[in-house]
């Protein structure tokens, strides 16, 4: 009996090990590499979680699990650079203060959260998840791979700069205004942000001085007091962290670009950015990504000028455009939104696909690792049954670093105990 159990245990361990081996070959599909064209009847080989071969007539190394994807479409896993998943809703906003850079999103990640499962079903492999927009300076976002039910440490992407969330406009105004506190106006928003960064500059100067003196061997010096709020902002000032700012109106976008210049900090993405098309040239010049929806508009005043036709203006101006979901629900439909973008803008299909892959990777500073199917990149894939821009397509498989995290099996809806 005991031997039997032992035997079973070994079998289990073997299965577990082979499942985590991260070797996989997708054979016979149409491969949309995004950066290097489309390969009909192609093969992608993933070994140790990285892409080791892409193309036609590839010799698949022996011992690798082969998945036949003949007639199917393979594209890089979709990327969402602004969403709110993988944590409980109560942890969405630290509403006690308009400046809370000491808050880190990584500390509330729930790897078993159901939003990861539903997002995987939309072919998404990497997201930047973040808190809400209650605060002018919110907290630190976290970029994760959607390794459902795996330890947080394995989900979090390492070796890239994380981003600090800021928010301008009506949200912080409304929240703190309703509490009878600053900021209750856009002027207040501006002041709160500026004051925080001026304090951070002073804090940084103190620490710089201390570290310089210490390095010079000076004795009898005390380190300045540590302040977690200021520590984060100091990272931003030292360009070890970048900014993703939630804003809608063109005037705020312009203000923000100047603000970041003034403090010499790196702005990677302007989120929602519904007025982005109005100042597309300025955004392109500043090298900041647009991260927003295709057709949301008018839910509040600052959002009234949302325009689905604006993508072409931004594209022509040279803005890095990313389609974001901003929610667990929309996060399942990035590919549908890419199709929708084409309805309103005369752009090539490949541009639509870039907006949910490589452009998003660029906004996350991960374009060397994800966002396209190229040798050396992470083995993150989405397999569709039809072309991903055909709106009647569905995701069949979502693969992260060679491991299948979502495998579509028709649930064949069974109705138990139906009413008659």
């Amino acid at each position: 009996m005991r031997r039997k159990i032992l035997y079973l245990l070994t079998v289990f361990i073997l299965i577990a090990v082979s499942a985590a081996a991260q070797d996989l070959a997708l054979k016979g599909g149409t491969i949309l590499t995004i950066t290097k064209g489309t390969i009909e009847n192609g093969t992608v080989v993933i070994q140790d979680g990285k892409i080791t071969a892409v193309g036609k007539n590839i010799n698949i190394p022996s011992g690798i699990k082969i998945i036949d994807v003949t007639g199917k479409y393979v594209m890089p896993g979709l990327i969402d650079s602004h969403t709110h998943i993988a944590f409980g809703m109560g942890d969405g906003n630290e509403v006690s203060n308009p400046v809370t850079p000491q808050i880190w999103m990584k500390e509330v990640l729930d790897p078993g959260h159901d939003t990861i499962r539903t997002t995987l079903a939309g072919g998404v492999t990497t997201v930047k998840t973040m808190h809400g927009s209650a605060n002018v300076i919110g907290g630190v976002n976290v970029t994760i791979k959607l390794k459902y039910n795996h330890p947080v440490e394995e989900m979090m992407v390492k070796g890239v700069r994380q981003q600090l969330k800021m928010a301008l406009g009506e949200n912080p105004k409304r929240l703190y205004g309703s509490k009878g506190r600053m900021p209750s106006t856009r002027m207040g928003n501006a002041y709160v942000a500026r004051k925080a960064f001026i304090e951070a500059q002073e804090y940084k100067a103190k620490w710089d001085k201390y570290e310089k003196e210490k390095a010079a061997g000076k004795k009898d010096i005390k380190p300045p007091e540590k302040d977690l709020k200021m520590e984060t902002l100091r990272m931003v000032l030292e360009k070890d962290m970048t900014i993703d700012c939630h804003t809608y109106r063109a005037d705020e976008i312009v203000w923000l670009l100047k603000f970041c210049k003034e403090f010499d900090i790196v702005l990677k993405q302007i989120s929602h950015c519904v007025d982005g098309y109005k100042v597309a040239d300025l955004m392109a010049e500043a090298g900041v990504s647009f991260g927003g929806w295709v057709d949301w508009w008018g839910m509040k005043e600052e959002m009234y000028d949302g325009c689905p036709f604006g993508f072409k203006i931004m594209h022509d101006a040279g803005v890095n455009i990313v389609i974001n979901s901003d929610s667990a629900n929309e996060g399942r439909f990035l590919y549908l939104n890419a199709a929708k973008m084409l309805k309103y803008n005369d752009l090539p299909e490949i541009e639509a696909l870039k907006m949910i892959t490589i452009n998003a990777a660029r906004s996350l500073e991960m374009e060397e690792r994800i966002g396209s199917i190229e040798v050396g990149k992470d083995g993150d894939m989405a397999v569709f049954d039809k072309h991903p821009l055909d709106s009647t397509t569905k995701v069949l498989k979502t693969i992260i670093e060679g491991v299948i995290y979502y495998d579509y099996v028709e649930s064949r809806v069974r109705v138990k105990g139906s009413y008659r």
């Binding site: 499962r117 057709d295 949301w296 005043e301 009234y304 036709f309 629900n329 109705v415 139906s418």
Partner: protein, 427 residues
């Protein structure tokens, strides 16, 4: 002389105004015509005269002075219908919406009284192919009010109306935040109480028919009597299995002409709904599954409803929307991806909602004699990348302009100009 010029000017002005508003004779030719009822006609023609579909088929000759639209390589459909919206009554953000009057029972509220033909959502909605909507007075109370079916064309609300008193809207899940009814059982009791009162009111009114002066006329009771007499269908907003069940009980008890608006929990009732001919407005394709539910449960629901024989229409949102009613095809696309036939999906955007709202004698399909609400698209309606080439409502070609196309035109120029200036500065 001056007088003569003035007369000529006036005459020209009059003629101009007349022609601008006139319903043209339009011939759409060479398109793939999808009448929704009946067979698809490849390389077909469709003739519109006086705002009505006059002929449909192949080889129709263009009458003199007809405007000809070449639809070669494109698809011709009836305009889509938004079966539960707030188009026309939502208003500018901050200006206050005109839906959901205060009170737990407001059946006498009529959205027609608040329709603003200048609402910018109208243009945004129609240039994307939704030509007809049901505009509601509210959905958040137990008993909400009347709804009006509108064609999204016309300078006055009365020009837009297809039908008034289309439905009366109940909500079996509308717990009040403060006070009665704060539970589902309370909501049901309130609805029953009001319907019972309305019955008594009708009897009293009948008795006092000879001396009407002594009778106290009550708008609330009058509105509910329209529902009790089955003149107006009762549309129940529901949110889950319990609220659907409660709605069906009330429909049965009072012998109402029921319609169910659902976002979840509908499948268990499919056979019952089909057997009892109770139609469904299905707004749950994008409902988030619960953690114990399959990820494709809601994507598949429309397919199962169709298979079981339930008459259903898509609604893009679980609430009456206005800004993005143009998203109507989204649930259709998703449902087709997960099993529904394209044909059924398109019906659920056009003729099915027309049937459910009782306006299928006028709109919802391309048939001789129906109102000419016609759209021409570059691809199938279930393709979200399909561009809307032409929109015709009431036989009029709709300019493809909206607040958003105006923004596009304005800022395209501004950005180009600024780019040019900064280039010159650099040089």
């Amino acid at each position: 002389m001056k007088k003569k010029i003035a007369i000529i000017c006036a005459a020209l002005f009059y003629l101009g105004a007349f022609y601008a508003d006139a319903q043209e004779t339009i011939l759409i030719k060479n398109g793939t015509i999808v009448p929704v009822v009946g067979k698809v006609i490849t390389s077909g023609n469709l003739l519109i005269t006086d705002g009505i579909i006059a002929k449909i088929g192949t080889g129709i000759k263009a009458p003199e002075k007809a405007k000809i639209i070449d639809a070669k390589g494109m698809y011709v459909y009836p305009g889509m219908i938004g079966p539960l919206t707030a188009v026309g009554v939502t208003g500018y953000p901050g200006a206050g919406s005109d839906t959901d009057e205060i009170g737990v029972s407001t059946p006498h509220m009529d959205s027609y009284d608040a329709v603003n033909p200048e609402d910018e959502c109208i243009e945004v909605t129609r240039i994307d192919g939704v030509t007809t909507v049901l505009t509601v007075s509210g959905t958040r109370s137990a008993i909400n009010g009347k709804a009006v079916a509108l064609n999204l064309e016309g300078n006055l609300a009365e020009d837009m109306v297809i039908k008034r008193d289309v439905v009366q809207i109940f909500n079996t899940g509308a717990r009040a935040r403060n006070g009665y009814p704060s539970t589902l059982s309370g909501v049901n009791s309130l609805i029953r109480d009001k319907l019972n009162q309305a019955k008594l009111y009708a009897e009293k009114k009948k008795k006092k028919a000879k001396s009407p002066k002594k009778f106290k006329y009550d708008l609330e009771m009058e509105a509910l009597n329209q529902v009790l007499s089955r003149k107006v269908p009762a549309l129940f907003i529901t949110s889950d299995e319990v609220t659907i069940r409660n709605a069906l009980h009330i429909i049965e008890e009072y012998n109402l002409k029921g319609i169910i608006f659902a976002t979840a929990g509908i499948l268990k009732f499919a056979e019952k709904l089909a057997a009892e001919n109770i139609p469904v407005i299905w707004a749950g394709t994008t409902t988030m599954p619960q953690r114990w539910e399959a990820v494709d449960k809601y994507y598949q629901t429309a397919f199962v409803l169709a298979k079981k024989g339930v008459l259903f229409a898509f609604n893009e949102s679980g609430r009456p929307g206005s800004r993005n009613v143009r998203r109507q095809p989204v649930p259709a696309s998703l449902s087709v991806a997960y099993g529904l036939s394209e044909q059924e999906a398109i019906k659920a955007l056009t003729i099915n909602p027309a049937k459910i709202l009782g306006i299928d004698n006028q709109v919802g399909s391309l048939e001789k004699g129906k109102t000419a609400n016609v759209i021409i698209c570059t691809k199938s309606l279930v393709q979200l990348s399909s561009k809307i080439h032409t929109v015709i409502i009431n036989g009029k070609i709709i300019p493809k302009t909206s607040v958003q196309t105006r923004l596009l035109d304005k800022f395209k120029k501004i950005v180009q100009e600024r780019k040019k200036q900064s280039r010159e500065k650099r040089e």
